[in-house]
Homo-oligomer: 111 residues x 2
């Protein structure tokens, strides 16, 4: 089970785990490297990494005695796909709002 069966949103619900994914944006990192950015113990970071792994958000690659964690794109793309109907929703909303503003004052706006 390398894949992501677990809930991606639940995995991203923790600020710690979001920071972990942010750290991994710049490339793969070892556990100790990642853990050094937090106050909490290294084993706790390890557990957060497991949650991310179970959600498919990261993968691990062994390299000697290091384990490099790497960000995986697919689950994030899922989030993006989930978001798209809502993007349409707020675009419509903003369009409606602008219409309203336009008709409420005939002034010309800058920009």
């Amino acid at each position: 089970m390398t894949a992501g069966n677990a809930d991606v949103f639940a995995a991203l619900a923790s600020p710690v785990r979001r920071e972990l994914t942010a750290l991994l944006l710049s490339g793969p990192r070892s556990v100790n490297d990642l853990a050094s950015h937090f106050e909490m113990s290294r084993p706790s970071v390890s557990e957060h990494l497991r949650v991310l792994r179970d959600a498919g958000l990261v993968s691990e690659e062994r390299s000697g005695r290091l384990r490099l964690y790497r960000l995986e794109a697919e689950p994030l793309m899922e989030v993006s796909r989930w978001l798209s109907p809502y993007e349409r929703f707020w675009r419509d909303r903003l369009a409606g709002l602008r219409e309203l503003l336009d008709e409420e004052n005939g002034d010309d706006h800058e920009r």
Copy 2:
């Protein structure tokens, strides 16, 4: 405090709450209307709505003895903004993948 102080990602971590926001895409709905789509008790749905409200994802408007819950765009836009660096990430990744495939097309590999 109508605004969303609570964690949007945590609010979206629950499948029930994601389904609630999906239901609200088509427009404002009352609590009973929303609750009718779930197996769980109405008070439990009410609590989920509170979590969404605390995150700013929905707002409530009283209309007689009904309370209409309405989807709010702003927190979803925050999610979208959070996502954008990752979008860049996976685009780069896909671009790299295509490059790799293109150059593998030239020579023949086994399989």
